[in-house]
C-alpha cells in the first residue's frame, strides 16, 4: 500500500521537494548576509534615533523579500490542501478506481490510513522546513520590522514558527474530507480553498486575541505610541494627535486596541483617529521650530496635561506560547477531521 501511495504521489512530491529545495537554498544563501548587515548596522548606530533610522532603512530595503517569503509560508498549507488533500480521495471516486483498490486484499480503513499518513506527514514536513527556514531567515528583519509587520502581527505570525505545520495538516485533511463529501475534484478544491481561507481569517480575527487574556495598560504618550501629530491651519491652530498600534517599552507587541484618553480618563479617540489636545501649536514646545523636529518636550507637556494611551495588547514574549497553542488547536481540528474521514469511509462511502 505504501508503494501504491508513493507511486501515485511521487510526481507532485518531487515537484514540491524541488520548489522547497530552491526556496531553502535561496534563504540559506542570503540569510547570513542579511544577519551580517543587521549586526553591522546595530553596532554602528549610537543613539536611539539612529538605530530607528537604520531599522527603517534596513527593513525598507528588504521589505519585498520579507513579504514574499512570508507569503510563500502562508500559501504552502493552502496549496497542500488544494492539490494534495482535495484530490486524494475524490480523484479515485471520480475515476472509479476506488472500486479497484478497495477490492484488493486490504481494508479501506488501512488504505485511507496509509494514504493520509504518507501524504499528510509529507505536507507537515514541507511546512515545517518552509516555516522554520523562513523564521530563521527573517530574524533580523523581524527585529527591525514596522509595528504593522512585527512577529505578532496577524499576517506575519502565521508565517513563522510551528503554526504553518498545523495549518498544513489541517488544510490537507480538510481537503481530503471535502473531497470525500463532494466526490468531485474541482468543486472539492474550490470548496477547500474557501473553507480554509475562512478559517484562516477567523483565527486571527476572532480566536487568537482570546488565546490568553490580553494585557490592559495605560501609557504616557511618546514617539513610540503616537502615530499622527498635526498642527492645523499651517501651524496656527489646534494640535491633533493619534495613537498607533504600538506600546512603549514593548516593541513587537500585538496591540489589539489603542485609545487616547483625556485627563478625566474618557476615551476621546480610537486607534488611528485624531483628537485635539489643548497645547499651543504656535508657541511653546509643540510649536514647529527650525531644524530637525524634536518633540520630546512636547510629549512632556501633553503628558502633564493628563492625556494617555490606553491599550490592550499581547506582549512579544507570548509569541511562542501562542505558536504552541495555535498549533495545538489546528492539531485538534486535524485529528477531529481525520476521525470523521475514517468513520465516513467505513460507514457512508461506496
Amino acid at each position: 500500500m505504501i508503494w501504491l501511495t508513493w507511486r501515485q504521489f511521487r510526481g507532485s512530491a518531487l515537484m514540491t521537494a524541488a520548489a522547497l529545495l530552491t526556496l531553502t537554498a535561496v534563504l540559506a544563501l542570503t540569510g547570513p548576509g542579511l544577519a551580517a548587515q543587521y549586526a553591522t548596522g546595530i553596532a554602528g548606530c549610537t543613539s536611539g534615533d539612529a538605530c530607528t533610522r537604520f531599522f527603517d532603512q534596513f527593513f525598507g530595503e528588504n521589505q519585498l523579500a520579507f513579504v514574499a517569503v512570508s507569503f510563500a509560508v502562508l500559501a504552502l498549507p493552502a496549496l497542500t490542501g488544494l492539490f494534495w488533500g482535495a484530490p486524494l480521495i475524490s480523484r479515485e471516486l471520480e475515476a472509479g478506481t476506488h472500486l479497484l483498490v478497495w477490492n484488493q486484499s486490504i481494508t479501506r480503513g488501512r488504505w485511507l490510513a496509509v494514504k493520509l499518513a504518507l501524504t499528510g506527514l509529507t505536507a507537515v514536513a514541507a511546512a515545517c522546513v518552509c516555516g522554520l527556514a523562513a523564521t530563521w531567515w527573517s530574524q533580523p528583519l523581524d527585529r527591525s520590522a514596522v509595528p504593522e509587520l512585527a512577529q505578532m502581527a496577524p499576517l506575519v505570525f502565521g508565517a513563522r514558527g510551528t503554526v504553518s505545520m498545523g495549518y498544513a495538516a489541517f488544510a490537507f485533511v480538510l481537503g481530503v474530507t471535502v473531497g470525500m463529501l463532494v466526490r468531485r475534484t474541482l468543486p472539492a478544491m474550490a470548496l477547500t480553498l474557501a473553507v480554509f481561507a475562512a478559517v484562516q481569517l477567523a483565527m486571527p480575527l476572532l480566536v487568537r486575541p482570546h488565546l490568553m487574556p490580553p494585557v490592559t495598560a495605560t501609557f504616557e504618550l511618546g514617539h513610540a505610541n503616537v502615530g499622527g501629530f498635526t498642527i492645523q491651519d499651517h501651524g496656527g491652530g489646534d494640535v491633533q494627535i493619534a495613537t498607533k498600534a504600538a506600546v512603549p517599552g514593548d516593541a513587537g507587541a500585538w496591540v489589539l486596541t489603542s485609545e487616547l484618553t483625556d485627563p478625566s480618563g474618557r476615551v476621546i479617540a480610537g486607534m488611528g483617529e485624531e483628537a485635539p489636545v489643548p497645547v499651543s501649536g504656535t508657541s511653546g514646545p509643540c510649536a514647529p521650530q527650525g531644524g530637525p523636529p524634536n518633540l520630546d518636550a512636547c510629549w512632556v507637556e501633553i503628558n502633564q496635561l493628563g492625556y494617555r494611551q490606553q491599550a490592550t495588547y499581547h506582549p512579544l514574549e507570548r509569541f511562542w506560547p501562542f505558536q504552541w497553542i495555535e498549533t495545538g488547536i489546528y492539531a485538534l481540528l486535524t485529528a477531529a477531521l481525520t476521525g470523521f474521514c475514517f468513520w465516513w469511509i467505513r460507514r457512508r462511502l461506496s
Binding site: 501515485q8 472509479g96 472500486l99 478497495w102 484488493q104
Partner: protein, 296 residues
Amino acid sequence: MTPVLQTQDLGKRYGKRWALRDCALDIPAGHVVGLVGPNGAGKTTLLKLATGQLEPTAGTISVLGGSPAATPAQLAKVGFVAQDTPVYAGLTVADHLKLGARLNPRWDAAMARERLTRLGLAPNHRAGRLSGGERAQLALTLGLAKRPDLLILDEPVASLDPLARREFLQALMEATVAHEFSVVLSSHLVSDLERVCDYLIVLTDSRVRVAGEVDRLLATHHRLTGPRRDPARLPADQHVISASHTDRQSTYVIRTDAPIHDPAWLVTQLNLEDLVLAYMDRRPNGDRRLDLEVQR
C-alpha cells in the same frame, strides 16, 4: 460446502427508494452465475452489497460464509471487476501488476504475466491509453491473478464491441475451468450470459424474480399455446409467469414440475432469453412495456 452467496430479506434503500428489497438467495459454490435484469433493476446494488462496497439497509448477506469486506482475509477470497472496469490511467500495465502483487497475499504473478503476454499488452503501456477491451482484460487479469474463490463482475462486457465481448467471456470461462472458482456476473443482455452461465438470477424492479440452475429452469418452464382460456382454470401446480391473449388464443409461460397432459395445449420449450423475457414481462401493474434490451 459453503454457499458462495447467501442473503436473507436483504434490502438497500437510497432515501425513499428501495434499490433492492426482500432478496433471498442461496447460491451453492462452483457455478457461473448470471445476474440479469434491466438497467436500474438493482444488479449493481446487489453486487456492491456482496463485495462490501455498500452496507445493507435491511436483512443479512454472507459471502463464502463471511461478512463482505470485513477482513483482509475475506477481501482476499472475493475478486471484483467493477462496472466500466476502472484502472489507474496514470499507471502502467506493469504498475498494475505490482499493485496486485503488493496488495494480495494469494497473488499469482506468473499467471498475470503470462495472461498479459498472451493478450499482447506491453508492460510499459499506460493504462489510460488502453482500448476499452484491453482495459477490461487488464481489470480481469487483476481479478483473476488475485486467485479468488469467488469472482464478481459487474457488467464487464457492457462497453465492449462484440468481438472483444466474446474474447473477454471466453477468457473468463477458460480461467474458471483452470482454477475452479465461482463466478457471479451481471448483464442487461441475456445473450451475453446464455453462453457462459449455468445458474441464473433474474432481477427486475429491485426484486429477485427467479433464481436457479439454468438446466432446471429450462426443464420446468414451458410455453403453452391453445384456445383462449382463463388462467384460473389452469391446474394448481402450474404457476403462470406470463400470459397473453388474443380473441381466440391464449399463450402462457408457466412453471411446473409435473408433466403437462392437457392435449389442448401446444407445449414448446423455452430458451433462456424467452424465460428471462417472461419474467421481465410479469409486471404487477399490468405494464407490459418490454424494458429488456435484447441483442443476438
